[in-house]
């Protein structure tokens, strides 16, 4: 369905020396530097899959998405979606895709939301009947009813994002590109949006490419992930494998009873774990313990902690995606040496 082969995109950047003098220099004799925002990115996505496309900020995710959606022309390499090269005939190509850029909106800022949908209906040539059933469906999953008559500029971020997602799905696209669709949203709205993505994927076999920084987005939605960093592929596979390999770090937070007089040394004693698998930080009674759950099972860690001290509040968190990326990246850098 989606093929990306050795995609590379270069940008020219004017390098400015610091200060006013540097600004003048850049004005008259700009020093240009070529930066590859994407460098040899390859992957493919079969029909009906939800792919998590992840990486740290500035990794080149958006650049790749923009090449796949026909906005940017790759410097070299090729992508093919649905058998079409996006840049060849942009107008026809985009009929089959839906796009959401979480930081932007495709809604008509000054008009009531319904107007945007009726404009999109005409642009994408959706029939009246289709439009009705589609709007009913989107209304149901994304709960647009309460604000559908308000001008877009008066909507809250959560409402706007739901409206934007609905706009991208209106014409039954075969491929959906979602670039950070849950950014800045609360849990309820996030859940709403995930439901919509899941439903449309299941019912219509829509292929979805999703970029996000939210690990639960990925856990709940994605069959597979592709991770990139500094414009290069670093991982391609299932989330489970990735977590099994890198995501075993857990973070335990607890508040010890002040009367117990717990210190990090006391906590570590009797656990029998080497230093590389566990670190303890403490701020008076608040403890933060990071440990490798492959070496020290979570249950063991909890039991041990509860046996050495009384606690007021305790929680264990999964490693977040940033942590995994950091791990992956560190490994890549070590491999270079």
């Amino acid at each position: 369905m989606i093929y990306a082969e050795h995609l590379r995109k270069e940008f020219k950047k004017i390098v400015k020396e610091p200060g006013l003098k540097g600004s003048f220099k850049a004005l008259f004799r700009p020093q240009k530097e070529i930066i590859a925002a994407a460098d040899d990115i390859s992957f493919h996505v079969p029909k009906g899959e939800i792919l998590g496309f992840i990486g740290p900020n500035g990794a080149g995710k958006s650049t790749v998405i923009k090449m796949l959606t026909g906005i940017l022309t790759p410097t070299s390499g090729e992508c093919r979606i649905n058998g079409k090269v996006p840049q060849d005939d942009r107008k026809n190509y985009v009929k089959e895709i839906g796009v959401v850029f979480g930081q932007r909106t495709q809604l008509w800022w000054d008009l009531p939301l319904t107007e945007t949908y009726s404009v999109l209906k005409e642009i994408y040539e959706v029939s009246d009947e289709d439009f009705k059933t589609r709007m009913a469906f989107l209304n149901e999953v994304l709960e647009l009813e309460s604000f559908i008559r308000s001008p877009v500029r008066t909507l809250s971020l959560g409402q706007r994002m739901r409206a934007d997602i609905a706009a991208s799905m209106l014409h039954r696209p075969k491929v959906l590109f979602l670039d950070e669709p849950t950014i800045g949203l609360d849990v309820v709205v996030k859940d709403n949006i995930r439901q919509a993505i899941m439903k449309i994927n299941k019912e219509e076999q829509t292929t979805v490419i999703l970029t996000t920084h939210d690990i639960s987005d990925i856990e709940l939605l994605c069959d597979r992930i592709v991770m990139i960093d500094k414009g290069r592929n670093v991982y391609d596979g299932s989330l489970r494998e990735l977590k099994a390999k890198y995501g075993q770090t857990r973070e335990m937070h607890f508040e010890a009873d002040p009367n117990a007089g717990l210190t990090p040394e006391k906590l570590l004693k009797g656990l029998g774990a080497s230093d590389e698998h566990i670190t303890v930080e403490c701020d008076r009674n608040l403890f933060k313990v990071r440990f490798n759950s492959a070496e020290i099972p979570v249950a063991k860690m909890l039991n041990h902690t509860l046996s050495v001290t009384a606690v007021r509040d305790i929680s264990v968190k999964d490693a977040d995606i940033e942590e995994i990326i950091r791990c992956l990246y560190k490994e890549g850098a070590d491999g270079d040496e």
Partner: protein, 272 residues
């Protein structure tokens, strides 16, 4: 044709609705335009009074009033803000939202603006023409309104709009290279203001300069329709002027397409 109507008319409708959403802005625009016309009127009145004669370079005072109001109105009607719009969208990257729609980028701009132009014609253009004709009637005592000239004006002003839109579109594409258009935008507006005869009628300029300017696309952007309305051209010249506008419209259309094809390849979207 039907497809164009269905797909792009919503853009025009949205353009009108956006204009209405900012009523005060629009009102300010109308009132500001009128104040400017009156200032120019008193300026030229002073010129006429000091020249001593009843006509000045072939223009009577009535002609001059007509010219001032018509040319200002026409340049407002044919004014296209597409260069700032597209410049802004390139600068903040929101042009990507236009590019993910299955429509022609330039056509979507055109129709959004046509909606606004239509509103301006109704709310601003027609009252000004009505006022001018009342004035001419009061001064001369006869009805001077000529339906044929008005028709010619309408055709020519429409062409003028298309030229102005394409010129501004070309100019907007400069934003692909310089990223921020504000400074050169002001430069462009004053150059067009002068070269198109809005500031000073081209008829008042030295012959050589006038002939050159009359053949440039800028004259097609407001001078030609105004002269047609005022009935200043002989039939053969009418034909020449309108064909000249057509030629410019086609040439600039081609140029804008060419620039777009080149510019889109080097689009680098800022932010997000």
């Amino acid at each position: 044709m039907n497809k164009i109507r269905k797909q792009y008319l919503p853009f025009a409708r949205a353009g009108i609705q956006t204009l209405i959403a900012y009523r005060m802005n629009f009102l300010g625009f109308v009132i500001g335009g009128l104040i400017y016309c009156f200032v120019m009127y008193y300026l030229w009145k002073a010129v006429f009074l000091s020249s001593g004669g009843s006509t000045f370079m072939g223009f009577s005072m009535t002609d001059m009033v007509l010219y001032l109001f018509l040319s200002n109105m026409t340049s407002q009607l044919t004014f296209s803000s597409v260069s700032t719009d597209i410049g802004e969208e390139i600068r903040d990257g929101s042009i990507v939202m236009r590019m993910i729609k299955p429509v022609n980028t330039d056509m979507s701009y055109l129709f959004t603006e046509l909606g606004g132009a239509f509103m301006k014609l109704i709310v601003f253009g027609l009252p000004v023409i009505l006022g001018l004709e009342t004035y001419r009637f009061a001064v001369s005592g006869t009805v001077m309104f000529d339906p044929l000239n008005f028709l010619l004006y309408f055709v020519s002003a429409s062409l003028a709009y298309l030229i102005s839109f394409r010129v501004n579109l070309c100019f907007g594409f400069v934003a692909f290279y310089v990223k921020n258009l504000w400074g050169i935008g002001i430069l462009k507006n004053s150059i067009i203001g002068f070269l198109s005869g809005t500031l000073i009628p081209l008829a008042f300029m030295p012959d050589i300069l006038r002939i050159i300017l009359e053949y440039m696309p800028f004259a097609s952007m407001s001078y030609t329709p105004v002269m047609l309305y005022m009935g200043k051209y002989e039939p053969t010249e009418i034909l020449l002027r309108i064909s000249l506008q057509l030629v410019w419209a086609v040439l600039i259309y081609g140029l804008s397409k060419l620039i777009w094809a080149g510019a889109v390849k080097r689009l680098s979207v800022q932010g997000g």
